[in-house]
């Protein structure tokens, strides 16, 4: 399942990141790593980006970036 398809309030675990280079690095620095629990919390007025809760902080990701993150329940 892709992270962008997870319903608001549903907790999932990160399986893999499909990004490369600087983007991958930034996501890892923010705590997006294998096995980490992540929950979509709320969306912006236009429906994109979405705010995700992980490791105690709230981080907003755009749809296209969340689509590259594989997750499992």
């Amino acid at each position: 399942m892709r992270l962008c398809d997870v319903k608001l309030g549903e907790s999932v675990r990160i399986n893999a990141l499909g990004h490369t280079g600087a983007v991958l690095q930034r996501l890892q620095d923010l705590g997006f790593t294998f096995g980490c629990e992540i929950t979509p919390l709320f969306r912006a007025p236009s429906g994109d980006p979405t705010a995700y809760g992980l490791r105690g902080s709230v981080i907003a990701l755009r749809f296209c970036d969340a689509a590259l993150i594989e997750v499992a329940i």
């Binding site: 990004h19 600087a22 983007v23 690095q25 930034r26 996501l27 890892q28 620095d29 923010l30 705590g31 790593t33 294998f34 096995g35 980490c36 919390l41 709320f42 969306r43 912006a44 007025p45 236009s46 429906g47 994109d48 980006p49 705010a51 992980l54 490791r55 105690g56 902080s57 709230v58 981080i59 907003a60 990701l61 755009r62 970036d65």
Partner: protein
């Protein structure tokens, strides 16, 4: 003994500056470090008779720098002179903060962990076991609440203790990429051991506020309302101190003039010094300082409270459509205060392409220096309400502001399709928890770091500009002043744009500071040799009408004032930040093209209907 250099490192928004201010008593100076010359805030701290130089490092998520601001942080943390790093951790998001801590423990000489914001964590039912953390990592750990100044003595005791020991890593090394998975795993393990979560009663409330702020209707309404309130307070509140300052400068001017006469200084020294340099300087300071001193603290309050990242969150989709970064919303907001500050703030944007777009389009946003012109012209020509900006006037101003925002978006889109081609890169935006802002810190940070710095730079350009303006308007060649020659030379181009030579000439001479554009126009029309007070709006309107102004001229001037070249201070900042004169030239030409386009549209309308 030479003071020992210690650094405060940590993620953005964990209260590094609060710890810094509590330790150093807000005494900071700018330090230069070996290698690249970077500016970090450095303060002196004395504990038990020993002196320490404490550096406030910009917030960073890891030691692998991506943004300009993080490079500054990494340079200092990799410095040989650094004896010890205090890693500030956020107790409410310990696991995330620990990722950086793991990297730092492995790369700096000595390390002390400092768990901050324990009061906020307690409210959320989170308890951090410092002993467990200390055992896991083998470094000293201290719990503090910097806002209430609790635990700071204990922290400095640990620092003193750690400095007595041999360094763990004798040679500081960078961080290799393989460490990330390890860092994340270690952070998770340590956090699991050390954090006990109780019942969190504020979670539901926080979620409700977030939903309210990001909803389509209430979110937009709250944002517009806030913008209006901030502008209203800034414009209203600045009137009185501005008047006071200009009175003060008038007194100073008279005093200096009297003094120079008394000591028998020649007229060619007295006149340009007093009526040129001093008057323009006084003008710029009186018009510029009060709105900046009000706008930036308000802005910093919103920043500290956590609202600005949410505005960027809400606006992100508009910026994405222009292939730009959502964080550009923040730099755009800062542009309303001062474009130079807005350009500096572009450091927070990771991608170089997107940072350049944000820098080049920032001057589309009317800054505090241009608001007086907009407001005076609205009052004199559109609402005809005299000095008071009524509801109609406020609505017109709001339309102008929205137009400026849309034009900056259009320019961003244009840039992303031409000069700065590319797709928008990843935009990760952290939405920090809402926090009560610290008034003292806000005043220091915004007044000293933003207002004062920009003001100083403006003064540096305004003083020579005053001299040049005086020379131009007082030296005559062939029966007319140089200024008259300049304005008549520009008249053809000006008329073509629906303006005139005087208006265009004033914008050219107003390059050092936008504040002097309108006074310059009045000076040229009156053919006086010195800048005169604006006086009341109706007499200003009468002077302008007598020189052939119509409503269309006023609208064209307003549009041109929003979209022409950035002021000299902003251009200098773009050269400094972008390290390129080429891009600064682009930054000057881009708004000019939009401005010329707008003026031609207005002129076409004037010919059709006027």
């Amino acid at each position: 003994m030479k003071p020992c250099l210690i650094a405060l490192a940590g993620n953005p928004n964990v209260g590094k500056s609060t710890v810094f201010n509590a330790l150093t008593g807000m005494r900071r100076h700018t330090g230069n470090w070996t290698g690249k010359t970077v500016t970090n805030a450095v303060g002196r701290c004395t504990h038990k008779g020993r002196e320490y130089d404490v550096a406030d490092v910009p917030g960073t998520y890891s030691l692998r720098a991506l943004s300009e601001e993080e490079c500054v942080a990494c340079d200092l943390l990799a410095s040989d002179e650094l004896e010890l790093a205090v890693v500030i951790l956020d107790a409410t998001a310990l696991e995330r903060s620990l990722i950086l801590a793991v990297q730092l423990i492995g790369s700096v000489k000595r390390c002390v962990l400092c768990v901050n914001l324990i009061d906020g964590a307690a409210k959320r039912g989170i308890f951090v076991d410092d002993k467990a953390l200390s055992n896991y990592f083998g470094v000293p750990v201290c719990k503090v609440c910097a806002r209430k100044r609790e635990g700071l003595d204990a922290l400095m005791d640990l620092v003193e203790d750690a400095l007595c020991r041999e360094p763990r890593n004798p040679k500081p090394s960078g961080c290799d990429c393989g460490i990330m998975d390890y860092a994340a795993k270690a952070a998770h393990e340590a956090a699991t051991l050390a954090v006990t979560c109780g019942e969190d009663r504020t979670k539901a409330l926080r979620h409700r506020i977030d939903c309210l702020l990001s909803s389509r209707i209430t979110g937009t309404l709250i944002m517009l309302l806030l913008m209006t309130v901030v502008f209203y307070i800034t414009i209203k509140g600045a009137n009185y101190p501005s008047a006071l300052l200009s009175e003060g400068f008038a007194l100073l001017e008279a005093w200096v003039y009297g003094l120079l006469l008394k000591i028998g200084a020649p007229w060619w020294l007295t006149e340009p010094l007093v009526f040129g340099v001093l008057r323009v300087l006084g003008w710029v300071v009186a018009v510029m300082l009060p709105p900046m001193a009000i706008f930036f603290p308000l802005f910093t309050l919103l920043e500290d409270w956590g609202l600005l990242p949410r505005i960027a969150f809400n606006m992100d989709s508009s910026f994405k459509r222009c292939n730009a970064c959502g964080k550009q919303a923040l730099t755009t907001c800062m542009g309303f205060g001062c474009n130079a500050v807005g350009v500096t703030a572009c450091r927070i944007i990771d991608s170089k392409r997107e940072r350049m777009i944000a820098m080049l389009t920032n001057s589309f946003i009317p800054c505090n220096g241009r608001f007086p012109l907009l407001i005076s012209l609205i009052c004199a020509f559109i609402t005809g309400s005299g000095a008071r900006l009524g509801i109609l006037g406020a609505a017109v101003l709001a339309v102008a502001v929205l137009l400026a925002i849309y034009m900056s978006l259009a320019a961003s889109w244009l840039l992303s399709k031409t000069l700065l081609k590319g797709q928008s890169s990843v935009c990760t935006l952290e939405l920090p928890p809402f926090r009560k802002p610290e008034i003292g810190k806000v005043l220091l940070r915004s007044m000293v770091e933003r207002s004062a710095k920009v003001l100083l730079r403006a003064v540096i350009v305004a003083a020579p500009a005053g001299l040049i303006i005086w020379i131009l308007s007082n030296v005559s060649v062939g029966g007319a002043t140089l200024l008259a020659h300049l304005t008549s030379g520009l008249d053809g181009v000006g008329r073509f744009l629906g303006l005139d030579g005087v208006i265009l000439g004033s914008f050219v001479l107003g390059l050092p500071a936008n504040e002097i554009v309108l006074p310059l126009m009045l000076m040229s029309y009156n053919a006086g040799g010195v800048l005169t007070e604006l006086g009341d709006v109706s007499s200003m309107g009468a002077i302008l009408r007598a020189n052939g102004w119509t409503v269309y001229t006023a609208v064209a001037v307003m549009l041109f004032s929003m979209f022409h070249w950035p002021c000299a201070t902003t251009l200098a900042t773009i050269i400094k930040e972008g390290k390129s004169v080429k891009w600064a030239t682009a930054a000057a030409l881009l708004p000019l093209i939009f401005g010329i386009g707008c003026c031609l549209v207005v002129r076409a309308l004037a010919i059709l209907f006027g």
